[in-house]
């Protein structure tokens, strides 16, 4: 109910200003159909309309932005944009005598820089187009307001508006720039690498390669040089999903079991047990993972002690046998994950309405039936969003795999180990092996799978649909 109030409040200023704008709206289309010469001229000389309505500061700002952008575009941008067409014209560096008899040093083209500058200019052009559109709209708005009220809003009015009706623009400006430059630009840049020959054989100068990298990763034969093939991709994908299912649900159910054991009536010192189990959360994950990795080495303390006690003759192959390694990472991940589950679930279990249990018990339900029909449905209802988040986080659980097993064991000639996830494989392909193009293909695959499934599950989850019910 309060929600409608919020909506009205947000709409109020807009409704108040709309009639004074002559009913033409504030869109670009309206600006061109109803705008006068100055307004239309703003599409060519940005800020013209504002200057004509005596909004000098605003007009000058638009003009400076346009001039600066055009200057940079002509002096640098055009060259760097056309550089996108041919990423690596000079493939080999060296020294030679040129036609005039001078001894010259030729460097191979820095294709990474070319690609990056090209992509960055595409971003810059999109950003400029947004400024351009706002300049035209602003000119039209100034025209309409000048006609209706005799004068266009002054600079002070605009600043006040940015603090009030358009507070979202001023508050979001910096965070959005940060996200665009350090999250979206790298992703686009990374994606564009998938269509090039940027690998360990072409570390400096490379060329566009179309879809051939996708063909390499998805062909049964694959590429021996990069150590990728369809079979390997499917194996890593399957293990990633198996891992995510185990890491999410095993943690969830065992954590719930321990939480219930601590909560059960006869258990003493409940606070102490909870504290003991949450100590591992407070230790930084990379520290505990590195320590456990050391403990489980062939010569590590676990194998040494077992040998000392005469329980085994040979070291247990924690990270040297594929199935042992898979079991090890899943079990160690329980050590990491169960405390988080206990923390999450204890409160939820305590909130299960007592009368539900009572009613069920009066009907003669045993403990299993109580658990199945009362506890589980309630816990799932509350914790489904948490499970979805955990599942996607586990698909990308870089730390546990990289620090614990580092993908080991790895077969000769394969770029991914038996416990590598898509994300650690991608990391190895790019950072360790320098096969950026194939790594980028794997990244895109992960991107597509994750993005689609997550968006679908989120949109169908209650917390997304009922967001507004909270207020």
């Amino acid at each position: 109910m309060t929600q409608t109030v919020v909506a009205e409040r947000a709409d109020a200023p807009r409704r108040a200003t709309r009639p004074s704008q002559g009913g033409g709206g504030t869109g670009l289309g309206a600006a061109f159909t109803h705008g006068d010469a100055f307004t239309r001229g703003s599409a060519v000389v940005m800020g013209l309309g504002n200057l004509a309505r005596r909004q000098y500061a605003k007009g000058a700002m638009f003009l400076v932005v346009e001039a600066g952008f055009l200057y940079l575009l002509v002096t640098r941008g055009l060259g760097q944009l056309t550089g996108l067409g041919n990423l690596g014209p000079v493939t080999k560096g060296g020294q030679h005598w040129d036609a005039d008899g001078n001894y010259v040093n030729v460097n191979p083209t820095n294709s990474v820089a070319r690609l990056l500058y090209g992509v960055a200019w595409v971003f810059a052009i999109v950003a400029f187009l947004l400024v351009w559109a706002s300049a035209v709209r602003s000119a039209y708005r100034a025209q309409e307001l000048a006609r209706a009220t005799g004068r266009a809003p002054s600079l002070r009015d605009d600043v006040r508006e940015l603090g009030d009706e358009r507070a979202h623009q001023s508050l979001l400006a910096l965070p959005v720039v940060g996200i665009v430059v350090f999250t979206i630009l790298p992703l686009v840049f990374m994606i564009s690498m998938a269509f090039t020959t940027f690998d360990k054989n072409h570390p400096v100068a490379f060329q566009w390669a179309g879809l051939s990298n996708f063909a390499t990763v998805l062909s049964p034969a694959g590429s021996a040089a990069a150590g990728v093939s369809l079979g390997l991709f499917l194996r890593v994908l399957a293990w990633t999903l198996v891992w995510a299912v185990f890491a999410t649900f095993l943690n969830f159910f065992l954590g719930m079991g321990i939480a219930m054991l601590i909560l059960r009536r006869g258990t003493r010192l409940k606070g102490m047990w909870r504290a003991l189990f949450s100590m591992s959360i407070a230790v930084p994950q990379f520290v505990s993972l590195l320590v456990i990795n050391q403990m489980l080495q062939d010569q590590g303390i676990v194998n040494q002690l077992l040998k000392n006690w005469g329980l085994i003759d040979h070291s247990l192959p924690f990270f040297t046998d594929a199935w042992w390694a898979r079991g090890t990472v899943i079990i160690v991940n329980l050590w990491i994950g169960i405390p988080f589950t206990i923390m999450q679930i204890t409160g939820v279990l305590q909130n299960v309405p007592g009368e539900l249990y009572e009613a069920a018990r009066l009907d003669g339900a045993n403990w299993w039936q109580l658990y199945r029909s009362v506890t589980l449905p309630y816990v799932f209802f509350v914790l489904t969003p948490y499970l979805i988040v955990t599942f996607t986080a586990n698909i990308n659980n870089f730390n546990v795999i990289y620090l614990l097993s580092n993908g080991a064991p790895t077969r000769v000639g394969e770029s991914a180990g038996q416990t590598d996830l898509l994300i650690t494989w991608l990391y190895k392909l790019t950072v360790d092996q320098g096969n950026y193009n194939v790594g980028a293909v794997i990244g895109i695959m992960t991107f597509v799978v994750l993005g689609v499934t997550a968006l679908i599950t989120y949109r169908n989850s209650g917390s997304y649909k009922n967001e507004e019910e909270l207020q």
Partner: protein, 314 residues
């Protein structure tokens, strides 16, 4: 491990505390019932004890190793045979091979900046998404959701090239600025928890403020911010901890040892070239880093839980 049924063979044993008081189970119990309950209680405590031990062993072990006089990583006994405090002093005095104090200071400076920037960004975006309604709100939230699922690792190499093009990878100061940017610039997308908290502040509070002539900026700074204090502490600690816990991004971006942060330095100590000499110093460093982080973590939990009980009491 099918622990649940084994350890709790009884019908009533598995039930939580709350409903038990009013249940028929509180009726007088027979001797057989009492014996069975005693067995179940004992089994539960033994089981929890064994599990707790498994949870503590790695932590105890690394703590003991940090006092081990024998610097070799592979020992044959669980507890050290000879104890020394030298690992801690050497970590800070012997800076010729690895400069731990320098790494520590660098991480601290980065952490302070990241904390401040993240806090500002998350607060701004959280407020806007919770309180203001505008055309691009839903698209923005969906984009942030999708972006949130792609960890920095995915494009880490692209981020490195971007920093390089900005000239932020060579010098020691440049790397520091680069790391601060990498840790904080995209943090605006992580506004969901903050927004969730602000959603619990009744809309009537800002309506009253607007009627009194507050602009939306003033509502933000004068009404919402003060109420958000518990969440502010939570967010500040998260931001502060980011550079202490990350080692993936810094591993790609800080290429020389002069530019390392603590986590990368500790990781480096366990590499083949160093481990024989540095293993116990790694343990000492791990203990030193873990203690403040653990304290901050416990404080953070406290504030998080108190903020989950709602923003405005009564």
């Amino acid at each position: 491990m099918t622990a649940i049924p084994q350890a709790t063979p009884q019908a009533s044993a598995i039930l939580p505390d709350a409903p038990a008081g009013a249940s028929p189970a509180s009726a007088p119990v027979t001797g057989g019932e009492r014996r069975r309950r005693f067995v179940a209680d004992t089994a539960t405590h033994v089981f929890l004890g064994v599990l707790a031990l498994a949870w503590l062993i790695p932590i105890v072990w690394i703590f003991m190793e940090s006092f081990n006089k024998n610097t070799l990583p592979f020992t044959t006994t669980f507890f050290p045979t000879e104890y020394t405090f030298g690992n801690y002093t050497k970590l800070f005095t012997d800076t010729s091979v690895m400069n731990f104090p320098r790494m520590f200071m660098r991480t601290l400076v980065i952490a302070v900046f990241v904390c401040a920037i993240q806090l500002i960004f998350v607060l701004c975006v959280g407020y806007v998404m919770s309180r203001l309604r505008f055309r691009t709100r839903r698209p923005f939230m969906n984009t942030a959701l999708v972006l949130g699922m792609f960890p920095g690792i995915m494009a880490v190499i692209a981020i490195y090239f971007i920093l390089k093009a900005m000239g932020l990878t060579g010098s020691s100061l440049g790397t520091m600025v680069g790391l601060i940017l990498v840790y904080s610039a995209g943090s605006g997308a992580g506004f969901y928890v903050m927004k969730g908290f602000m959603d619990t502040i009744p809309a009537s509070m800002d309506e009253a403020a607007v009627l009194d002539g507050c602009t939306r900026w003033q509502v933000f700074t004068k009404i919402i911010l003060p109420i958000t204090k518990p969440m502010l502490v939570y967010q500040a600690i998260i931001g502060f901890l980011t550079p202490w816990l990350d080692f993936v991004l810094v591993k790609v971006i800080a290429r020389t040892q002069d530019n390392y942060t603590v986590s990368l330095g500790l990781w480096q100590m366990l590499q083949k070239e160093y481990i024989a000499e540095w293993y116990t110093r790694f343990a000492a460093g791990a203990v030193l880093v873990s203690i403040p982080i653990a304290i901050l973590f416990i404080v953070m939990q406290r504030f998080y839980q108190s903020s989950m009980t709602g923003s405005v009491k009564g």
